[in-house]
């Protein structure tokens, strides 16, 4: 599996996701600069990492979504290539039109960093095959604007098409008590129509080692690695 991680000015979790991908696949991902116009030949997975691209000025992800490299990302997604946006990467994906909806300020109006439980949705996707359906996993969240909002038709479509990838929940799986930021239906991550683009606010890349919080994030990277490995 060939993966590429894009660095925008202000990206700051690119190293974390590079480490997670390297760990899972044994191969270091390629680093792509936001001014590049193309992706390396043969790229299977493009990752938009967490951070504060352009300082979150204007709107989170709004400026980065206009970067030259985003045309290449859109073309890659259109061909069915895998795209993963984490945190600020998710914000960039919704700003660039690759995923629907918006990420508003957290309901509590404060930045939140903590360990957070998620309920895994379907497991027949390139990103979640290593998990079991409704599995409760513990990963990190670290965001000020992760409150997922979309119009009722979009929410209905996401729900009926099985495109909610992860929901926030508590340790017992309660998505109402465990919703940290006010997201509609406790949505923590969503897929594109063809399930090849995933945007999520939580950080599975920070949960890949027993020593540092746990290993519940490994499943996502194992899934994408296995997916292309099998193809």
């Amino acid at each position: 599996m060939k993966s590429a991680v894009i660095t925008f000015p202000g990206s700051n979790r690119e190293g974390d996701v590079i480490r997670a991908l390297h760990h899972a696949s044994g191969v270091a991902p390629m680093k792509i600069w936001h001014q590049d116009h193309t992706l390396p030949h043969g790229t299977d997975l493009v990752v938009l990492p967490g951070g504060f691209s352009y300082g979150d000025y204007l709107r989170c992800g709004a400026i980065a979504s206009r970067a030259p490299v985003m045309d290449a990302v859109r073309a890659h997604a259109a061909k069915g290539g895998l795209v993963l946006g984490i945190c600020n990467g998710f914000q960039i994906l919704v700003e660039s039109g690759l995923l629907p909806g918006v990420l508003m300020r957290n309901a509590g109006l404060k930045f939140i960093c903590k360990m957070q439980h998620l309920k895994v949705g379907r497991t027949d996707t390139p990103f979640t095959s290593a998990y079991t359906k409704d599995q409760i996993i513990k990963v990190a969240i670290a965001h000020g604007e992760g409150n997922y909002v979309a119009d009722p038709d979009t929410i209905t479509a996401l729900e009926s098409e099985g495109r909610v990838a992860f929901r926030y929940c508590d340790a017992e799986g309660d998505t109402i008590k465990g919703n940290p930021n006010g997201s509609i239906n406790a949505i923590a991550g969503i897929y594109s129509e063809k399930l090849n683009v995933l945007g999520m606010m939580p950080h599975p890349e920070n949960l890949i080692e027993t020593l540092v919080g746990g290993i519940d994030g490994r499943g996502l990277f194992a899934s994408v690695t296995a997916f292309k490995g099998a193809a």
Partner: protein, 737 residues
């Protein structure tokens, strides 16, 4: 427009914070009246913050050397060798006054400034910590200040991309009008790739990097006067505005440029901006500096030389480059979208020459700007010694269980989760131990080394006895590092005090420094960087003397780091260190009896060291299953914290001293640790070993259940304790109390 050549009046001198005799010294040094720009430069270099004129004499006594120290005080940050060719670069600095005026930006730029100090030396920041002191919770400004400071620290650090891994937050009415915001940054560099401020070579280009220069931060309170400004331009805020995004780009661009070998010297523009950075680079390298201000990237038009030299606009750097490397360097900065301009060169004249529009605006001797700064031996008096309070003279009005619940839910002890959940403490994926423990534990890269990081001081003790309080702050940092399995290596000290022109406050400074020095010397724990913040007072009343100690320790194998959570039921709890039940200046006395009198607990440094070595051995050989250092709140609070961290309860069955139970439970005797071991047999072996080594040790109880039981009292459910511990701060911030 201000004119550069104006008559220097006594008023003008006073407005620049210079004393008449200091002005006489200037006249003698340069042999003529200074220009306005020159006066500004002197006032920037000779103020307390930059010159340490009140503290320098006393700081000289601090131990600063050890075989592992690569760079002690005097550079942007201290540097120690942590093995494997790696160095840890760290420093703590205050941003107290700006944070009181404008809490968000004040705190944010405090974090930005200290991060810059660390990456200026070629280190990539891997962690920040902070120490915050606010006024009484019921003071009308406190809630607003807490909210703004926390948001500012988070807003800057989170965006920059460094985990905020630890800190401490306290409340006391003596900070009502003068809060403290101390921020510490820690970075990692290769030992052979450390960058310094010292310029070398004549005729080398001086390069300006980063954000543009604006009129923010010019000369703080002294120079906002319109009297010098014929056009009566609007007054600008004196607090700088931070841009963490620009700082992140500056970090990446600087580290990338350093890799090319183009950098001879580098200095960030912090306090006193362009002035201080240029003078330091020249003075350290015995070189002159000539700057052409027409080349400086400016945010606003028509800035005068005076304004440009004193601006404290953030996210700026000054470098001396190797000749011929300019193009390569410029390409890197353009890639990162930052300003890059060659604004001058080094000379062999030892003069600091500032030109603008072809005119010389300042021409000063560069060495003297730094070296000849006033140095004061200010009069000081020693704080009168307080009587030692005998434990059996202080009765407890409440049950010990009630006292414990009250303490755990009091502002100083209550969980600070509300604060640290607003800080990204998980980014970089190396935060082995989360906030809330003894010291934060951060893995270095992919290991095996880790760092133990802590910030400590007990201002109540420093007020009661500055010497013992200074000692205690260092000893507590030492203890916190030991408790997580680290080897204490070095400290950074952030000395926050009142007005040094008052002998009683000057005395606090002098004796705290002596106490710090005594502890550092005995514990082999040198000071490698620091910062002094004086004049922290409002309406003539100073803050509590608060010498914050930022401690750094090395953990050889971070997978073996220790923590404070009980590990299993039925384990034996051992108390290491001597307990007599010291209630003077204790948290119990303040919280339960509303008294802050009495002498604070003395620190016996020899015992401190011996007990630490004993605990380290128990961690290293795998005997200890959990370790917690004891500080304020004493043994009962320590056991409660271990229980809450694990969800496993405990029963305290035996108390170590013969005095009153509340004194044994809440006394703050120093040099102590709580350690758990697996079973009774192990406990007996450890006790025998301790006695053989002349280490005081007591078996005090056993872990288990979902309650905490104090001797002869009803069990307290952990839920009750947790509720008390977790509720106060969120409820207070929501305005519910």
């Amino acid at each position: 427009m201000m004119h550069n050549k104006i008559t220097i009046t006594p008023d003008l001198i006073a407005q620049h914070g210079l004393k008449p005799d200091e002005y006489q010294r200037i006249l003698k040094l340069i042999g003529r009246e200074p220009t306005l720009t020159e006066l500004g430069i002197f006032s920037a270099m000779w103020n307390e913050h930059c010159s340490y004129k009140s503290s320098r004499l006393h700081l000289r006594g601090l131990p600063t050397k050890a075989p592992w120290v690569i760079q002690g005080p005097g550079e942007n940050a201290g540097v120690i060798d942590i093995g494997d060719g790696l160095a840890c670069v760290f420093k703590m600095e205050s941003h107290n006054h700006p944070s009181y005026i404008e809490p968000y930006q004040g705190a944010a730029t405090g974090v930005g400034g200290i991060l810059r100090d660390v990456f200026t030396m070629g280190a990539r920041p891997i962690a920040t910590l902070n120490a915050l002191r606010f006024g009484a919770p019921d003071h009308p400004k406190t809630r607003h200040l807490v909210s703004g400071v926390v948001a500012g620290i988070g807003g800057y650090g989170n965006s920059f991309g460094v985990p905020t891994v630890g800190g401490q937050t306290g409340f006391h009415t003596r900070y009502d009008g003068n809060i403290l915001v101390n921020a510490m940054a820690v970075g990692i560099a290769k030992t052979n790739e450390i960058f310094y401020a010292k310029a070398t070579g004549v005729g080398n280009p001086i390069v300006y990097l980063g954000s543009k220069t604006g009129r923010d931060g010019i000369h703080g309170a002294t120079m906002a006067s319109a009297a010098f400004d014929d056009t009566a331009e609007e007054k600008r805020p004196t607090v700088q505005v931070g841009d963490p995004f620009a700082e992140k780009l500056l970090l990446e661009a600087c580290l990338e440029l350093m890799q090319t070998g183009a950098v001879i010297a580098i200095q960030d523009m912090g306090a006193a901006g362009l002035t201080s950075s240029a003078v330091e680079m020249g003075a350290k390298g015995d070189l002159g500096i000539e700057l052409d201000l027409d080349k400086v990237p400016c945010r606003e038009e028509g800035m005068t030389a005076y304004e440009m030299m004193l601006s404290e606009s953030q996210e700026r750097m000054l470098m001396v480059l190797k000749p011929g490397k300019e193009k390569e360097a410029e390409a890197i900065f353009i890639k990162w979208g930052l300003d890059f301009a060659i604004i001058g060169h080094t000379t062999d004249t030892l003069r600091f020459v500032i030109k603008q529009h072809g005119e010389v605006m300042a021409d000063l001797p560069i060495k003297e700007l730094g070296d000849e700064a006033p140095l004061y031996d200010r009069p000081y008096v020693e704080t009168p010694k307080r009587p030692v309070l005998a434990p059996n003279t202080i009765a407890s009005p409440v049950s010990n269980s009630d006292a414990l619940i009250r303490l755990m839910g009091s502002p100083d002890f209550a969980s600070k989760r509300w604060i640290w959940e607003q800080y990204d403490h998980l980014i970089l994926g190396n935060s082995v131990q989360q906030p809330g423990g003894d010291a934060a534990v951060v893995r270095v890269g992919d290991g095996p080394h880790g760092l133990a990081l802590t910030s400590d001081v007990t201002p109540r003790y420093c007020e009661a006895d500055p010497f013992e309080g200074g000692k205690q702050a260092v000893a507590e940092a030492y203890r916190n590092i030991i408790a997580v399995g680290g080897t204490p290596r070095a400290i950074t000290d952030n000395l926050n005090f009142g007005n040094p022109e008052r002998p009683e406050y000057m005395g606090q400074l002098v004796y705290c420094i002596r106490g710090i020095g005594a502890a550092c010397a005995e514990l082999d724990f040198p000071v490698v960087s620091g910062n002094v913040s004086l004049y922290n007072e409002t309406n003539g009343r100073g803050i509590l003397p608060t010498p914050t100690i930022g401690g750094v320790g090395v953990i050889e194998d971070v997978t073996k780091a220790m923590d404070l959570a009980f590990k299993a039921e039925g384990e034996i709890i051992l108390l290491i260190g001597k307990t007599i039940g010291w209630l003077g200046a204790s948290a119990w006395l303040a919280t339960i009896l509303n008294r802050e009198d009495g002498a604070p607990p003395p620190v016996n440094l020899a015992e401190e060291k011996a007990n630490a070595a004993f605990v380290s051995q128990l961690i290293a050989d795998g005997t200890a299953t959990a370790v917690h250092d004891l500080s304020d709140g004493g043994m009962a609070v320590g056991v409660a914290e271990m229980a809450l961290a694990s969800g496993i309860g405990a029963e305290i069955t035996v108390l170590p001293s013969g005095g009153p139970q509340h004194a044994a439970l809440f006394g703050e005797d120093q040099g102590r640790y709580l350690v758990t071991v697996r079973d009774a047999a192990t406990a007996q072996a450890v006790i025998a070993k301790a006695r053989a080594a002349d280490i005081a040790i007591d078996e005090i109880g056993i872990t288990g259940g979902a309650t905490l039981t104090l001797p002869a009292e009803n069990p307290i459910s952990l839920e009750t304790l947790r509720h008390a511990h977790e509720t106060w701060l969120p409820a207070y911030m929501a305005g519910e109390m």
